[in-house]
Symmetry: C2
């Protein structure tokens, strides 16, 4: 088991109607609140009005139109400017992972004198950040329970995941009923995102019985409940379990003491959505089975066997490689079954920029480092995985 240093101080208030806690949660943080949100779906479900009503005693500011794959320019820059100009005390992010990720970058940028990109690109470590509270409307990224975010910078095709312990939300308000109206496409993409978070941690050289079991349970719960939620979007139990499943995705609790895995599918997918602005979860679902095929070998086959037997119930009496191949196929089939387009062509990506992306990934993501990655990937490996995904 590998040494670790773990802390997740975020408070989770979970369940139907828990938004009533909002004023008490915000009160200790100050008077001037920046509310951040996306394209307006929070208005359609009445959440925007509810928030305004509950916070009528606060001084409210707004940043709207935060996009999926949230952008440094304009969203982060605009948010930081609002915070600095108005001396904002705290940020309330209302939306999914993109709104929250963007809000984290704003929270750090607001307390930094230079260009926020210095922080996102780790040129400078954040010394402080505004406190963040979120009201989640999409189960997917796990940003509500971690200190990280992913920000895209269009002109350089950069999509960078950054983490900083100042960026744990103070409190995440998690009401599964806010996800009832999430579309089939986004429900499926959220499931794929969360499943990939687990898979990235499960496929590591050194793991534990405990972590493996936690990961397997999370995967099974995600698959089972996504099927229900797609058929019955307002099934509370399914939406609630999905929301909690996703929460554990990225704060490390599923892999405490595991050796580093390198999160290779994320590293690869970040380039896809940086270059083509595709839906992150769909990109991950397309890449994952192809990455699995690529890394299956005598050193990794036992991991695939455990995955296949414990997650998909494949007969453990079969030959090892047969189990592994069935497990990879089952992964593909599940994503396909929930309606995800399973080729890059279907999401509008052709082979024209494959080599360019593979180079970008190889230069920026460090996937060739043997001590940091389950199976190191060269630029050629990355290009092969991308081509297999076309």
């Amino acid at each position: 088991m590998v040494n670790f240093d773990y802390q997740t101080p975020t408070r989770l208030i979970f369940g139907k109607g828990v938004i009533s806690n909002l004023p008490d949660v915000m009160k200790p943080l100050g008077k001037k609140i920046l509310i951040t949100y996306g394209g307006g779906s929070i208005k359609k479900i009445g959440l925007y009005d509810k928030v305004k009503e509950l916070l009528k005693d606060f001084e409210l500011f707004e940043l709207s139109d935060i996009q999926p794959n949230p952008k440094y320019d304009p969203s982060v820059l605009d948010g930081v400017a609002i915070c600095k100009k108005n001396d904002i005390d705290a940020i309330l992010a209302v939306g999914g992972g993109s709104v929250l990720d963007c809000s984290k970058a704003i929270a750090a940028g607001a307390k930094y004198d230079g260009d926020p990109w210095d922080l996102i690109s780790y040129k400078v470590l954040a010394k402080d950040a505004l406190p963040i509270v979120d009201i989640l409307t999409l189960a997917a990224t796990g940003s509500e329970y971690d200190c990280g975010g992913v920000i895209s910078r269009t002109e350089t095709n950069d999509k960078i995941g950054y983490m900083d312990p100042h960026l744990f939300p103070v409190c995440s308000i998690l009401d599964p009923t806010y996800t009832f109206t999430v579309s089939k496409k986004q429900t499926a993409a959220g499931c794929a995102d969360a499943m990939n978070h687990v898979i990235e941690q499960y496929f590591a050289e050194e793991t534990t019985l405990l972590n493996d079991g936690f990961c397997e349970a999370t995967l099974k719960s995600l698959m089972h409940n996504t099927k229900i939620a797609l058929e019955h979007p307002d099934d509370y139990q399914a939406r609630a379990e999905l929301m909690l499943d996703c929460t554990y995705g990225c704060n490390g609790i599923l892999s405490l003491g595991n050796s580093p895995s390198g999160w290779p599918c994320h590293a690869i997918e970040h380039a896809l959505s940086a270059y083509y602005d595709i839906t992150h979860g769909e990109g991950l679902a397309i890449i994952t089975p192809k990455w699995m095929n690529h890394i299956l070998n005598d050193r990794t086959v036992d991991r695939f066997v455990k995955y296949g037997v414990n997650v998909f119930g494949i007969d453990h009496a079969l030959e090892k490689y047969e189990i592994a191949k069935q497990a990879i196929q089952a992964t593909y089939d599940f994503f396909k079954s929930i309606g995800i387009p399973m080729t890059l062509h279907e999401v509008g990506i052709d082979e024209s920029r494959i080599d360019e992306m593979a180079h970008h990934i190889a230069v920026n993501e460090g996937l060739d480092q043997a001590d940091q990655t389950y199976v190191p990937l060269s630029e050629n490996d990355i290009a092969d995985i991308l081509r297999a995904s076309l």
Copy 2:
């Protein structure tokens, strides 16, 4: 799924040699540190000297001889007196769950003007507490990652579990090598304690696929690794995994969103160790299968089936009650196989005070409340379970 409000802010620093972080962890907390410990095993393994050396720049005070089933009088009272007299800034608990539980009561008592029993008995809610750091030497109670403790008061036969959010340790320093010298008896009792923590949460009316999976993984890891640790006390991987397994036992993360279970075996066992001062984990191991037998019925049988199939690998094709009975027997057999005395007689308890204890439990533990307990237990039920355990 039931609404919940969850937060565990404790930092976990885990692994071989992580004690080197101690000065940095203590520094922000103040200069005057009360070190609390038990009977001196920390001196035998060199940990006491190491702590003194690392904290040579602090002003150190000591409270030693904290007993298993830690006592209000003298330990809590003495500790509070030392803190008040010397204006202690923080407590460093070095030992197992008993030392830590006692230190939590001291931490709250030190910031309260009245009798600390007011806090422990919930007559008064704590408004503040001294910060606590711990260096764990025994994997069992999970006190290193929760805000609760259990304190015994000999003259009234009270053993009370109390919780207060001020009592989360600031940081738990978890080095599995400190548990290499834990005796077979205590290793087994620690495993039984931790297993029971999981079982108490698993047996609930409303659960989730996720929580069930987390619980099953924790139970399987505990059983597998205890067997290894008993045979090879210095197997790092086994001791490390046991330490992490136990950490999750009591902070609620294994049952977020589950309906209340009532923790009946704990409620019953607390009376056993209050009256007879037996080893807590052994008392739990004795009670658990008898409680299971007592509550097995048409409403609960499916839960036992899931437990039997997923934890012990019992054939799911068998008849439901057959699986349930095999699962209960397997629970008993496992505890027996790790050397736990499995009758109350073996731990020095006869039938003379059964009715008195049953009455004490019935009056104080609220196990008859249908909305708070998986299967409500009357005074007669409790007496039956105790008699079956003789």
